[in-house]
Amino acid sequence: MDSICHYRNSEPAASGDGPLRGLRVALQPNFSVAGWPAEAGSKALAQFTALEDATIVRRLRRAGAVLWGSTRMSEFGFGLRGSQAGGALLERAADVELVLDLMGESRAAASRAGVCGFKPSYGLVSRCGLVDLIPSMECCGLLSRSLAQIREILKVVAGPDEGDFSLPDEKAPDFSSQAIDPSRIRIGVLREAREALSAGAQASLQASVDELARAGFSMVEVSLPEHGLFPVVHRIAGSVEASSCAGRYDSVRYGARAPGGKNWNGMYIRTRGAAFGALLKSYLIQGAFFQFDRYGAFEDACRIRARLVAGMERLAAEADFLLLPAVDGAAPEAPATLAETYAQFAPTLFANVTGQPALFLPARPGAPGAGFQLAGPRRSDPRLIALGEHVLKGRKGGGQ
């Protein structure tokens, strides 16, 4: 268990009596829980202890959830290198895990653990009290064996929060369970996403297409010719935001200060040079490149982002939901460089760029591959989860 755990709560008792009473929740040390270490996987926050609960943590506690502890994580949750996300579910120590999703981490961790993983719409769940890195893209992802549990949690945590300056004041949608009529639902398969896959991954995608078709959904092929620009936009805009966000790690208010800095600048350069790992550092330096040297290219990436968001919204006229691959078997398992990291998350990062909800479902037992993603338009979260529940229920019934 120690290998999974960053911090283990010594008094895991429910403090509230609500709809989540007794539900065991694990999270990552980039979620603030008052009194818990919140180092976010980085030396830049070494020895940092959270002073207050994050909004989401407060809402979970009030609803009776039990905070089990935090799992080891990658530096600021960027990628899964060094992360044990999903481990608490595998060990059956927790029922639900919260995993920050910057480019698909929660869905990839779910795939690794063979459980469901859900990235909500951007702006649905408060990020107040989270250690952030890419504010315009990251969301609190949820891992569980049960989509009902994910639905119950969202019922409690979604919705406006005064403490989150970036959250819209949109009312949360209704997360009650709802019925799905497959005959009235079109599911699109994105041609460009399929064609980008290796042969083996295409075969497992086809198995999920077949599963959904057999369940009675109408399957259609849709196309977004600029699909290949998703990683370009994510990598440029994400790195600029990360570089800007990481500016706060100055060893003045928190973190460890490297000795020997003769003046303020020396203190910054030494401390920050020692604080960040090589992978994150290369991301921050790349972000600085776009901020200081090629700002025009950053703006161009943001123009393309507008086009990609509009393009995905247009596809909603052709298909109610999209079926997409979740992992590309050809991508490296434990990426050490930025290019490898982006290759690993190529199938998932689109949802972070557009802010739409995405659900990872593990493959039907016996089917090839680990599983697939379903995605819907922004704020279609309750229907997307209902769709997932319908698919899983179909498997239990042993129809095929």
Binding site: Y122, S136, G261, K281, I285, G287, F290, F292, A297
Partner: protein, 709 residues
């Protein structure tokens, strides 16, 4: 008022009760005023001082009193009237003329003033009232309106005192047979080691004069020219990195004399310094003590020793030759040294917490040493976190060597490098003295620092001049190829240091060709190179150069020390600010394109790379700097690779960008404070909890490294 006859004018500050009954004409500025309903009191200020003038309907006409009512601060006026003693009990001890006042009969407003950007009046109009302060006024605002700032009596006093000090120096040097000679401002670059300010030549396009960093070469040429004793109040220019107390142009008293030795310089400069400091009422004790460079470094860790307080270093390396304390043992095995200071009687003010958590963990490491060892003497014992590792004998020997008494704090620094030990201990000595208030106010401790090393080692295994290559060595029979021998040579240079500040320095110069050639040989400069760089100068030594030497005293710094001002800008009429700019004139400024064209500067260098010139800054270094993230050598390849990819990504983004408006997020909100909510202080700040995770805290503040070097 009838036409003003300024020849009748008397000065405000010179009036005394002896002038009672006299009719006087005064002219100056309205410093302050008080209106007592019909009776108007004004502080009238001119350069000499302030006198109170009174407008009363019983003395002046109605017209004069009405006009007086319109006066405002800093109106320039002339008044005439009669000097009267003040009523008993209304005397003002803030001003020298506080026992009298002038009853005004006539008034002329010579010129009006706008509202002031900051208060000028410094003298309260009522006895016992507080004087105005400029504490909240930024220095740049003062510099922007320097002409107003100079009206303040304290600035005026500084400039007048500066003039007195300069006059005193001129008279003294004249009395010793020195001749004041000006040397050119437009000249060749001199080898002082700082960057030059360059002046483009219009007549010789593409060529430049340099403003002098000092008149060094010219004053030596004046000696060869037979002037024998020269001085100049010389303006010097150095384009150096910004420091709080440094100006890009500054004034020095530059002195050179022939047929003299060090003793001549010491005697004369001491006498000069004594007289200059006496202008400020400061008595310097003569003769000034002398300290060799080696002694200064060994006992204070600085070649600018501050001798106003003790805490001289004590070497205790030998006491630990058999030590069981592993940290010391390892350092000594590597040929290291252990030195310390005794902070006498301060153990009450240097708690365990301060010594360990502030000094040992934070402050001393920032001075470059790995750590420090401290011991507090209490009840006849040494107490500290490491004293258990020292044998009884070692503890006894320490107590004896430092003469320890109860209440003392011993601080030791050990390091394999002697230079690290002295440098860190030297900075620590000053830090402790400042923090503990061990520096007595009003004390002045001059010292001559002598016998500097002639050369310093370069990284390439050669040597370079510590001062400049014309400084005479202490002996001439050295082998110019033997680096070890060269590094052991002492120079005939001397620095005058007062209170840890170098006020000036100089040397006896080389006057023989063969010795000069040997020095260049040692520096690894060929005959051809030396002729290229200093040919005009060296040629002069072929014609019977006399033995000579001299010195230069930084006058801005000296005057600032004599007047005890917080910065040298307080003793300069129109100084540059800390960013080497002039807020008053806006210099430096851009210039017209035509001006550049006329000077042939437009295409200078152009876009072509100059042969041998450095290419653009490395992109990783640049990004490392702008994002303040250190990049280790082993990480560079990864960064280069990512930046190559970033270039490619930038091209893809630019090629594929359409005409859409860029978006920065997917929901239509920017980070904002919601209407109706207000910013408020976090309760975590109130309780101090916010400081809990900070690496360094002082009181209720976050502590950071120093912002300026």
């Amino acid at each position: 008022m009838s036409p003003i006859d300024y020849s009748r004018r008397v000065f405000c500050g010179q009036l005394t009760s002896a002038d009672t009954g006299r009719e006087v004409l005064l002219a100056g500025w309205v410093d302050a005023f008080r209106d007592h309903g019909g009776l108007l009191f004004i502080h009238l200020r001119d350069r000499s001082g302030i006198v109170q003038v009174v407008f009363s309907p019983e003395i002046g006409s109605t017209a004069v009193c009405q006009q007086a009512a319109s006066l405002r601060a800093e109106y320039c006026i002339a008044v005439s009237g009669e000097v009267k003693p003040r009523l008993p009990g209304t005397e003002n001890d803030h001003i020298s003329t506080g026992t009298i006042e002038v009853m005004v009969k006539e008034l002329a407003v010579l010129s009006e003033s706008d509202a002031l950007p900051f208060p000028i009046s410094e003298k309260a109009m009522v006895a016992g009232a507080p004087s105005a302060s400029l504490d909240h006024v930024t220095e740049d605002l003062r510099l922007q309106h320097r002409y107003l700032d100079l009206r303040r009596p304290s600035m005026r006093d500084h400039l007048i005192a500066r003039h007195r000090i300069f006059q005193c120096a001129r008279q003294f040097l004249d009395s010793r047979g020195f001749v004041e000679i000006e040397t050119p401002m437009l000249t060749m670059s001199t080898p002082e080691g700082a960057r030059d300010y360059l002046v483009p030549s219009r007549v010789h396009p593409g060529k430049f004069y340099a403003l002098p960093q000092s008149p060094q070469l010219f004053k030596q040429l004046l000696m060869i020219g037979g002037m024998e004793r020269y001085f100049q109040l010389a303006r010097c220019f150095r384009d150096e990195d910004l420091r709080p107390n440094r100006q890009p142009e500054f004034t020095q008293i530059d002195i050179e004399a022939s047929f003299i030795d060090e003793e001549f310089i010491y005697e004369m400069i001491e006498e000069l310094a004594v007289r200059m400091f006496a202008v400020g009422g400061i008595e310097l004790p003569r003769p000034f003590p002398r300290m060799t460079y080696a002694e200064a470094m060994d006992t204070t860790g600085s070649d600018r020793p501050d001798l106003r307080f003790g805490m001289r270093f004590v070497d205790v390396t030998d006491l630990f030759s058999q030590t069981q304390y592993s940290i010391f043992r390892q350092i000594l095995q590597r040929g290291g040294r252990i030195k310390g200071i005794n902070v006498q009687g301060q153990s009450d003010r240097l708690s365990k917490n301060v010594l360990q958590n502030e000094y040992a963990k934070e402050i001393v490491p920032s001075f470059g040493a790995k750590g420090m060892t401290w011991m507090r003497a209490e009840k006849g014992q040494l107490a500290s976190n490491v004293v258990q590792f020292f044998s009884r004998g070692e503890q006894e020997a320490l107590r004896a060597r430092f003469g320890v008494a109860d209440g003392d704090v011993l601080i030791l620094i050990a390091d394999p490098s002697h230079a690290v030990v002295t440098s860190a201990l030297g900075q620590l000595r000053l830090h402790l003295a400042n923090r503990l208030g061990l520096i007595p106010a009003g004390r002045f401790c001059p010292v001559w620092v002598t016998e500097f090393p002639l050369f310093e080692a370069t990284e390439e295994g050669g040597v370079t001049s510590s001062h400049h290559p014309f400084t005479a060595p202490d002996r001439t029979d050295f082998d110019p190829r033997n680096v070890e021998e060269l590094l052991a040579l002492r120079s005939r240079a001397y620095d005058l240091v007062v209170n840890g500040e170098e006020l000036g320095g100089g040397s006896i110069r080389i006057n023989r060709r063969d010795l000069q050639r040997k020095i260049f040989d040692a520096l690894g400069l060929s005959e051809e190179e030396t002729m290229n760089r200093f040919g005009f100068f060296l040629r002069a030594f072929d014609f019977g150069a006399p033995p000579h030497g001299g010195l230069a005293l930084g006058m801005d710094r000296t005057v600032s020390m004599i007047l005890q001002t917080p910065s040298i800008r307080e003793v300069i009429a129109f100084p540059k600010n800390r960013s080497a700019g002039c807020p008053l004139t806006g210099a430096p400024s851009t210039v017209k394109r035509e001006q550049l064209a006329e000077l042939g500067l437009l295409n200078l260098g152009g876009t072509d790379k100059l042969a041998g010139a450095d290419t653009a800054e490395n992109r990783v270094d640049h990004l490392s700097w702008v994002s303040r993230i250190g990049i280790a050598a082993g990480e560079r390849a990864m960064m280069e690779e990512v930046l190559d990819q970033a270039e490619a990504l930038a091209s893809i983004a630019t090629e594929n960008a359409g005409k859409e408006e860029p978006i920065w997020g997917v929901v239509p909100v920017a980070n904002r404070t919601r209407p109706g909510t207000r910013a408020q202080r976090s309760p975590l700040a109130e309780t101090g909890q916010l400081l809990k995770s900070a690496p360094a805290v002082k009181g209720s503040y976050f502590k950071v490294a120093s912002i300026l070097e």
